[in-house]
């Protein structure tokens, strides 16, 4: 607990400076005001009637969709790229070219292609998560000690056995690293992605942008804290899942 003490002190200092009137609350609301704003988000909603839990559910849904898509495509492709050098040679120049483009730079073209709505939002989130998942999976396969493949061969393993009994479990630690990084990036692109995908009028990104439109910095900051906490929780859950399915580390 002791390591959270500096954070606690900072919050106290922040509250103190606000109470003493150093910052006007339309610039930097105090922690207490932010907590009140959080309550308002829960009960009244932003815009009014659009309650917080709905925003959270919509955001989770979009991130879940984009992230799942990234895993469903990224993991198998990564395994193939790691195992077959031809595959690697085929895809790596394309990936090298596309990967440096930030996911957010895709927003305009995503809107042109997919329109404003969930499809563009999911596409942006997918782009953010896809490359970390893909590249970590591929490097996981490449890092498997070739001697393990030889050992499997001397035990009569076919290509299929090698794939499922050596490559997949052997690259699992890297796949998880990729998934955690991918999830982090996905969650980070969420707010921007929701600039494009808010036809429904829900989403944490949409919520804080609306709060900005009507000059509510307390609700913006409360929204930011919620995004951060959910991101932290998801990462914690992924780590828990990771250690439960690979106990050998």
């Amino acid at each position: 607990m002791g390591r959270y003490l500096p954070l606690l002190l900072l919050i106290c200092l922040w509250q103190l400076l606000c109470s003493l009137g150093f910052f006007p609350s339309y610039v930097l609301p105090s922690p207490i005001e932010i907590i009140n704003a959080f309550q308002a988000l829960l009960t009244i909603g932003m815009p009014p009637g659009h309650l917080l839990y709905n925003h959270v559910l919509y955001s989770l849904y979009r991130v879940g969709l984009g992230f799942s898509l990234a895993c469903v495509l990224g993991i198998p492709l990564g395994l193939l790229m790691g195992w077959f050098p031809q595959f690697y040679r085929l895809f790596s120049p394309i990936i090298e070219l596309v990967r440096p483009i930030p996911p957010l730079a895709w927003i305009p073209i995503a809107i042109v292609w997919l329109g404003i709505g969930i499809r563009s939002a999911v596409f942006i989130i997918f782009l953010g998560a896809f490359f970390p998942v893909l590249l970590n999976t591929a490097s996981g396969v490449l890092s498997i000690n070739p001697i393990l493949v030889d050992a499997a061969k001397t035990l009569n393993a076919t290509q299929k056995d090698i794939f499922f009994k050596v490559l997949v479990p052997g690259s699992l630690p890297s796949i998880f690293v990729g998934m955690r990084i991918g999830m982090g990036v996905a969650w980070m692109t969420l707010v921007a992605a929701e600039f494009t995908g808010v036809k429904e009028g829900y989403g944490l990104g949409f919520m804080i942008m609306t709060a900005r439109d009507i000059q509510r910095p307390d609700e913006i900051l409360a929204g930011m804290c919620i995004i951060g906490m959910i991101g932290f929780t998801i990462d914690w859950l992924l780590r828990r899942w990771e250690s439960s399915i690979k106990p050998w580390e």
Partner: protein, 257 residues
């Protein structure tokens, strides 16, 4: 069981530099059922390559390897290979590692578990069944690797410096363990080592290879009964002679001849 190596020759080709390095110049070898053969030679003389050729892992080489008259074309369970670095699957428990080959053969869960447990018991590893390799000592890991090969009932067991990374006490224990196993189970073993003491303690026949490119310099038959006294006069004589040959090879290597 009869294993025959005919005119084995291996050249590594470095495609980038277009350079060819000869690793094995010429090796003929015959191994009879139940023999324990050690192959000794200077470091980097192609001993590991030779085992990889016999096991079928190495595809491009000249010459032929016959097991009971059948040419070995690809790795299979009849020729087991035990690696120096154990090569256990880190994500599998001891029991699951030993079961791997049976699992690949499609043997049912309960049956292979009970087969593996039999090995675990007879190898004195009870209580560690569900431990992962990283939780086991080096000696124990190597016993798991040996069990994993033997459970497949191989006709010949190839061992590539299996005790090379163990401390000397564990190494002695493992040599005795292996000797015991060989006597009880009538195994045929080809054992690569650069430790002459080990070769003399274990083998019926010791094949001394030259420096790279490898060829057979001498072969010693050594039929004294087991368990052997590591310091008997015969053992010492053979050891002295082999060490002498190897020293000459090393000097030649240094002089670049």
């Amino acid at each position: 069981m009869h294993l025959e190596l005919v005119g084995i020759k291996k050249t590594f080709i470095d495609e980038k530099q277009g350079k060819e390095t000869s690793a094995i110049a010429h090796i003929d070898l015959q191994i009879e059922d139940g023999q324990f053969i050690s192959i000794v030679g200077p470091r980097g003389c192609g001993k590991t390559t030779l085992l990889r050729i016999i096991s079928g892992l190495e595809k491009s080489f000249d010459g032929e390897v016959f097991l009971d008259g059948q040419k070995i074309l690809k790795p299979n369970h009849e020729v087991a290979l035990v690696f120096q670095q154990y090569a256990l699957f880190p994500w599998r428990t001891m029991c699951q590692n030993i079961e791997m080959g049976l699992e690949i053969m499609g043997i049912g869960k309960l049956e292979r578990r009970s087969m593996a447990e039999e090995y675990i018991r007879s190898f004195g590893m009870n209580g560690f069944e569900d431990q992962y390799p990283c939780q086991l000592s080096g000696g124990m890991q190597q016993r798991v690797a040996i069990a994993r090969s033997l459970i497949m009932n191989p006709k010949v067991v190839l061992m590539d410096e299996p005790f090379g990374s163990l401390d000397s006490q564990t190494r002695n224990d493992m040599q005795e363990f292996l000797m015991d196993l060989w006597l009880k189970r009538n195994l045929t073993i080809i054992f690569v080592t650069h430790n002459v003491d080990e070769a003399v303690f274990l083998s019926d026949r010791i094949v001394v290879l030259s420096k790279r490119p490898a060829r057979v310099l001498r072969a010693f038959e050594f039929n004294s009964p087991r368990p052997r006294d590591r310091t008997s006069k015969v053992a010492n004589d053979i050891r002295r002679e082999i060490i002498g040959i190897l020293r000459q090879e090393r000097t030649a290597l240094v002089c670049g001849q």
